[in-house]
């Protein structure tokens, strides 16, 4: 390594991260990928593992890859990179890079009015690749939202993983639900009765204990 500093050389990783819709990804440090320990178990998940890893690290393949296999290796390289990415962002340097994006609001803001523009974090509800696309987590209402732009419709959630937002909010001390309940629905200024066929059913979802009795109740739920 080290000879890739010529200005017109774009690494596989920086190219991958600059593709359309890939702006949620950070560039995984080369040293992280080169440490075999960090890749434990991935060789049995990703086909063409060795070749894919060479792609990611911009290494000449040991054996020439047949033209018909090139697309498959490229696809494997993307899955492999994604899975490494999910592990990298729950390390300190990875989380720091994610924090740069988070601070700029690059993962978007909570669409919930009462959350007042609280910044979101990407999450994969499922850690297996190919199951579900990326979702967004709001640390204030601890709810999950779909990205509003269609460019993220093909981004695999597993490439961010289910642990990332939890890890991130712990690391940066954002791990406090901060629910501001929304107003009740009213008709000509009057609250709709609970027993009505359109009466409120979801208040619990945004409720926080506030009265003495509720606080006592809250202490006892453990």
């Amino acid at each position: 390594m080290g000879e890739n500093d010529s200005s017109d050389f774009e690494t596989w990783i920086s190219n991958f991260c600059s593709l359309y819709g890939h702006d949620y990804y950070v560039e995984v440090g080369q040293d992280f990928i080169e440490d075999d320990f960090n890749l434990t178990g991935l060789s049995s998940i990703v086909p063409y593992y060795k070749e894919a890893l060479d792609f990611i690290l911009d290494l000449e393949p040991e054996h020439e890859i047949k033209i018909k296999d090139q697309a498959l290796v490229q696809q494997s390289a993307e899955v492999l990179y994604g899975l490494i990415h999910a592990r990298y962002i729950i390390t300190k340097p990875g989380a720091q890079l994610m924090n740069e994006k988070y601070s700029k609001g690059q993962f978007g803001c909570c669409p919930r009015y009462a959350c007042n523009g609280s910044k979101l974090l990407p999450i994969g509800i499922n850690d297996t690749p190919g199951v579900e696309t990326v979702r967004l987590f709001c640390p204030d209402c601890f709810d999950l939202y779909l990205p509003t732009s269609s460019r993220y419709l093909n981004i695999d959630g597993a490439f961010f993983g289910s642990t990332f937002p939890g890890f991130f909010i712990k690391m940066y001390g954002l791990d406090n639900p901060n629910l501001r309940p929304s107003d009740d629905l009213k008709i000509f200024g009057f609250k709709i009765h609970e027993g009505s066929n359109v009466g409120s059913r979801m208040k619990w979802l945004r409720a926080t204990p506030s009265t003495d009795e509720e606080l006592r109740e809250f202490d006892e739920v453990d």
Binding site: R112, L144, S196, R201, L205
Partner: protein, 281 residues
């Protein structure tokens, strides 16, 4: 000064796309020109068309003369289109225009809670003209516009989700500039009451608790458990007053014994079959 209203023999299109020219398609109902133009402006997709008859009925405009200047001229503008021969300067036209927008918006607030208006908004709702709820567990529930106040200038329009009963910001910045008073505080409640049998959803009880390597984060898990307790108390209260809430309209997606219905099992598959949740539209 650019002449705004040339007389063309041919129907004239809004060539530059910024919606500032009247389309004079000679054959159609001349009376609806201003409203058609207004509804065609990008960002005005949430509005429905208010009947001219409704606007011309003085009773429906009660109290609005304190909100709008040059009321009768503005009404003429909305219902007739301003006479093309009528000589006014750009400044006055802009002033009238702004007042016309405001008057139309305030009439709209009243109109959409009438039977006719509700029906028009129902069509728009079915068509998802107000967008979808982006909350994952709401599964692209269609939204309804809501005003946080009935007075102009207090806050912009928001969106109400009948499934999670929460209020959201519009996704598009154009919609985020529209005054909430033009939809009002009463509309969603009235809408749901009117079309309850058809539109009231079953409420999802699934929710997410942040985890680290599969373990719940304590602060969130504790609050979630307390919230669940509140839900169970409500279920008990409703059941005791004879209201069935097990997997029915405006109930919860729970079994008759109160346990949550299992969320659909997600099978692992190829990436192309990945659940993207918006491909199902």
């Amino acid at each position: 000064m650019a002449p705004e209203h040339h007389q063309f023999a041919q129907p004239q299109q809004d060539v530059d796309g910024d919606g500032d020219e009247y389309i004079s398609d000679s054959g159609s109902d001349f009376n609806e020109q201003w409203i058609d133009w207004f509804l065609g402006i990008k960002g005005n997709e949430y509005f429905c068309d208010v009947d001219v008859d409704y606007i011309l009925d003085k009773f429906n405009l009660t109290g609005l003369n304190t909100e709008v200047e040059k009321m009768s001229k503005v009404i003429d503008m909305i219902t007739d289109g301003l006479d093309e021969e009528y000589e006014i300067g750009d400044k006055e036209r802009d002033h009238l225009e702004a007042n016309a927008n405001k008057l139309y918006g305030l009439i709209h607030q009243r109109y959409i809670i009438t039977t006719k208006g509700l029906n028009k908004m129902h069509l728009k709702y079915k068509n998802a003209d107000f967008g979808y709820c982006y909350r994952v567990y709401c599964e692209l529930q269609h939204l309804l516009p809501i005003g946080l106040s009935d007075h102009v200038g207090v806050s912009t329009v928001k969106l109400y989700c009948p499934k999670c009963e929460d209020i959201y910001n519009p996704k598009s910045s154009r919609h985020a500039q529209i005054d909430g008073a033009y939809f009002g505080t009463t509309f969603p409640g009235m809408f749901l009451q009117t079309f309850a049998a058809e539109v009231m959803p079953v409420h999802p009880v699934e929710r997410y608790i942040p985890k680290i390597f599969g373990f719940n984060i304590h602060q969130y898990a504790k609050l979630a458990r307390w919230q669940e307790l509140q839900r169970n108390k409500q279920i008990k209260r409703l059941t005791e007053s004879g209201i069935n809430v097990a997997n029915v309209m405006n109930g919860y997606n729970i079994n008759p014994d109160g346990s949550p219905l299992k969320p659909p099992v997600v099978s692992s598959g190829s990436r192309s079959r990945m659940r993207s949740s918006r491909s199902d539209k």
